[in-house]
């Protein structure tokens, strides 16, 4: 089946099997290897790309579903040495360790900031819920996203250290201490 997908602003096309995953189309057909495949089960987010500006996990999207749509991978985000502001913030704040999760993490962050340009630290943690960093480098990743939003990446932590507010991780019940 023929597909036409705009990838990083360039028209691309191929005659593909309907079962071809978007992640494989990007990596194998187009040779864009920044999109990593981690878990292959919609869990880890390493394969996150943007489809029409919104983050999706490309291991759970068929290439044929992206026909006539626009896809952005990490390769298309920056222009040469001119880094995208989110990529620049990941570099400045050292928001990576081994780097495997980074392409997906950066694109998830771009999508998050598009929907919520002025997030709190908790918004960032919840907004990156679908991306796992097995180095557990979340601390600087969250700081990088806050910095990319033009915020002091340490402000909320300083406020929190000065107070004694109970906190819970995203997705967990706040329990009896809530409110």
């Amino acid at each position: 089946m023929k597909v036409e997908i705009t990838v990083n602003g360039e028209p691309t096309g191929a005659d593909v099997e309907p079962r071809l995953l978007l992640a494989h189309y990007l990596r194998e057909n187009l040779g864009l290897k920044a999109t990593n495949i981690g878990c292959d089960t919609t869990s880890c987010g390493a394969c996150t790309v943007l489809v029409d500006g919104e983050s999706v996990k490309s291991c759970t999207v068929l290439a044929v579903q992206a026909d006539q749509q626009s896809v952005t991978t990490l390769e298309g985000l920056s222009h040469g040495v001119q880094l995208h502001p989110v990529a620049a913030a990941f570099r400045a704040e050292h928001g990576l360790q081994c780097g495997f999760c980074t392409p997906g993490m950066v694109l998830a962050a771009v999508s998050l900031l598009r929907e919520n340009p002025d997030p709190t630290e908790r918004d960032v943690r919840e907004g990156l819920e679908g991306n796992l960093c097995r180095c557990t480098g979340y601390h600087n990743i969250v700081r990088a996203v806050l910095a990319a939003a033009g915020q002091d990446p340490d402000a909320e932590q300083r406020r929190e250290a000065a107070g004694d507010a109970a906190r819970t991780a995203p997705g967990f019940s706040a329990g009896e201490a809530a409110g």
Binding site: R19, K57, E129, G130
Partner: protein, 271 residues
Amino acid sequence: MIPVDFEYVRPESLDAALALLAEHGEDATVLAGGHSLLPVMKLRLAAPALVVDIGRLPELHYIRVAGTEIAIGAGTRHRDVEVSDLLAAEVPLLPAVARTVGDPQVRHRGTLGGSLAHADPASDLPAAVLALDGTVVLRGPRGQRQVPITQFYPGVFATVKEPDELIVEIRVPRTGRAGWAYEKFTRRANDWAIVAVAVVDGRVGLVNMGSTPLRARATEAALADGASIEDAAALADQGTEPPADTAATPEYRRHLARVLTRRALTTAAAG
């Protein structure tokens, strides 16, 4: 993991999609967001001969007032439910529940109709629509019919929808300022509920407490009879058959259902 080979069609209209389902029957499977279907196809637990992609049909994407109800097109994505001002004002439970589904990437793809059709008893939205006493609108070659959500789930991963029918719309009452709450218990981010409880207007929906989404009928009856929240919530696991898995024993799930129901009723009463 690669799915078994299949034919793929993306019809241009709802009528064309229905015609394909009428022609191919059980050999066809409907793809909307694909975030329930594609994982099971990749695991080869499903191997449809034909995949009918309805994900881009504009006719299925809307949220609008319909008298005393809100009508939501089946193709409306979780993200659209999450940020809908109309739902926030008229049915605030629904965006709050949609916000807890999966993660942002999943919510950019998954749809309300798809979640109801997949019929996973661990899913959030079926129990929320159940607590809302919603209605599922089905369309097929014999016309359109409305099924109360209370009659939609005959068993595990099953619905009363025929293979040649599509969910086209979900209707929920405008609950407005009636008290509501959603308590979801998970141990990991980005995971299904071990147990969750949706409360709205004195009705209680339970996630993952049996083979289908369930209502906590004993709790609802006790509340209607004037019982305290404490006493009513203690009945939340009556009539349930919670599953055992690596996350929890049935006994632990019963405990969670009672505790989460108490919390949800307390929050709803304070709202």
